[in-house]
Symmetry: C2
Subunit: 312 residues, 2 copies
Amino acid sequence: MRFHSPAIQYFHAVRRTGSIRAAARVLNVASSAVSRQILKLEQEVGSPLFERTARGLTLTTVGEMLARHVMNVLQDLDRFRSDVASLSGTWHGTVSIACIESLTESVLPDLIASHRGRARRVSFTTEVMGSSDVLEALSRGEADIGIAIALRHPQDLRQVALKRFRLGAVVAREHPLARRKTVTLEQCLAFPLINALPELSIYHLLQPLIAQLPETPEPAIQANSIDLMRELAARGVGVAFQTQLGIGRLSRDSQLVFLPLDNAGSPVWSDLGIYVRAERTLPAYTESFLQELVRELGERERRESAGYPQVG
Amino acid sequence: MRFHSPAIQYFHAVRRTGSIRAAARVLNVASSAVSRQILKLEQEVGSPLFERTARGLTLTTVGEMLARHVMNVLQDLDRFRSDVASLSGTWHGTVSIACIESLTESVLPDLIASHRGRARRVSFTTEVMGSSDVLEALSRGEADIGIAIALRHPQDLRQVALKRFRLGAVVAREHPLARRKTVTLEQCLAFPLINALPELSIYHLLQPLIAQLPETPEPAIQANSIDLMRELAARGVGVAFQTQLGIGRLSRDSQLVFLPLDNAGSPVWSDLGIYVRAERTLPAYTESFLQELVRELGERERRESAGYPQVG
DNA sequence: CATGTTGCTGCCGTTTCGGCAACAGCTATA
DNA sequence: TATAGCTGTTGCCGAAACGGCAGCAACATG
C-alpha cells in the first residue's frame, strides 16, 4: 500500500535522519536516488528545502512547512490503513507514547497491560523523557500520544485533557512526618531533603515556594530520577517530593507515605496534560487507548481529591 | 508543484465526476491511463474502490475511506502552497463558500467587497443552496466555508461559530402592522401570508408555531426564494417571515419593516452556523476571511439584540 | 596529510506511465 | 429488434521517470 510518490517518503526519511546517505540506508535504496528525489522536490517547490552542511542536511523554513504537510499526509495514511483494517475485523497497529517518568510506575503499565489483554494485535512503543521533549517529539511526529507537565504548548499540539494532582512529600513509613495528614514545606526542612534537579518539572514547581522561605535550604541529595528519589525516600534517607502517581506500588506495600503539600493553606498542584498533534485524526486503535488513558487519569484525579480533600 | 502520485489526483477526479472517461477529459489524459491508475490503486489497497455500473462509478465503503484520505491530502497541499506563497509576500488563492440565500443580500457582498479591497489576489467562489446541501458540499470538499441553518452536523464538520438571529415578520412600510415593535403569529393571520416552502429552513422554524394554532392558516403565496418573498412583502402583498439578515438594503431605504416574532412572550430564533471540514487546516487567506465572517456575523447578532431587546 | 564522511552527477538498465486503437458490456432510442 | 452512444478495460508501443553503480569535489576529523 504505497500510493504516495517516493519523493514524499524520501523527504520524510531525510528529515528524520538528517542525512541523505543515512536515509538511503534506512530506505534500502541508493543514495543517488534519494538525492535526486530531493532535488526534484526542491525544483518543484521552487525553493531549497534543506541547508547543506558538511555533515548533513538541515530543514529550511520552506522545508519545515513541507515537513508539516508530509507528516500530515503520512499520519493520515496510517489512519486510513487502520480504518480499512478495522473494516475486515483486524485491529492492529502500534501506539507510540512519549511521557514523563511519573507515569511509568503504575499508570502506564496498568493501562497497557489491560489494553493488551483485550486487543493483542496492538503493540506499544513508549519513551520516557522530559516534559518539553515530550512536546517536541510529538511535534516532530515521533509519538502519537504525549503526557507531560502542562506547559504552554505550541499551536500544532492539542491538549486532549488536563488533570491536576497534588504535589506532596514522600517519606518512609517510619519517618517522623509519616503520621501527619498534610505537611508544609517548612516542616520538611527539619529533615534531609531529596530534591529534583532543574531538568525535572518538580524542580520548577517547588522553586517558587523555596524562594519564599527566609533562607534557602541545602538539599542532602539532588537527582534527576523520580525512581531513585522514591527509593531513597523508602530507605528513610530523607523527604522527597512528587505526585502520588509515581509511588503507587510502594504505597500499596505501605513502605511509603504520601503527604500532600500545604502551602499557606492551599494545595500545590502539578498539572498533567495529555497531548496529541492538532492537525491529525488518530487511528481507531490509538484513539481507543487515548480514551482509556484520559479516563484512567481522570479516575485517579478523582480518587485523590476524594482521599485528600482540598485544604484552602 | 505536483509531488503526489498521479493515482491520488486521478482517484479524486473520478470520484468527483463519477466516471473514468469524464475524469480523463478533465485531467487532459487518456481514459486508459486513468483506468489503469484506479486498477493499480485497488490492487494496492487490496479491495475495490468503486462499484462499476453501466453509466459510471460509485464509491464503495473502502473507496469512501480513501476519498477522505485523499481529500485531506489535497486540501492540506493547498494549505502548504499558500504557506509557501505567503512567505514570499504573495497572498493569492480562491475561497470557496457554500451558503444559504439569506446571506446574499448584504452580509456576503459587503464582506467580500471589503476583503477584496484589501487583498485583491484572493478570489471567491460562492454557491447558494439549501442548508443540508451546504453541509454535504462541505463534506465532499466542494467548498471551504459553509454557512447554514444550524442543524445537527456530521462528525466530519466543525461548527466554527453559532449565531442566533430573531425570526420576524417582514412587511411594507405602509402595512397596518408596521408601527408595532413586535408581532405575534396570531396578529399576522389577519393579513395575507407569504410562506416559505418546505425546502427552506424558515418553513421548519415556523411549522411548530403554526401547528399550535387553533386552525391552520392558508397562505396567500408560497415560495422557495427569500428574494421573491421579500420583494412581495415590499409591494404590500402580505406578510413574509425571515431574519433581519436578508432585508438589509430595503430596510435601509425604509421600504420594509422588520417585526420580531413574539411567540407567547419568547423570541423565535433562527440559528446560523458557520462550518468547516474538521480534518483540515485552512490556508491563511481562507482562515483570514473566516475570521472576518465570524466577526461580522457576531457584530450583526449584537446589533440586532441591542436594537430589539428580548421579549421573554 | 590521510582518511572518512558528506551530497552530487554521468551512464545505463528497468520500471512505470500514457496514448492509440480495439473490444465487450450496457442503455436508450429509433 | 437494431443501432448508436456510452461505459470501463486491455494489448501494443514509445516516452518519461526511477534507481543502481561508480566516481567526483568539498569538508571534517584524526
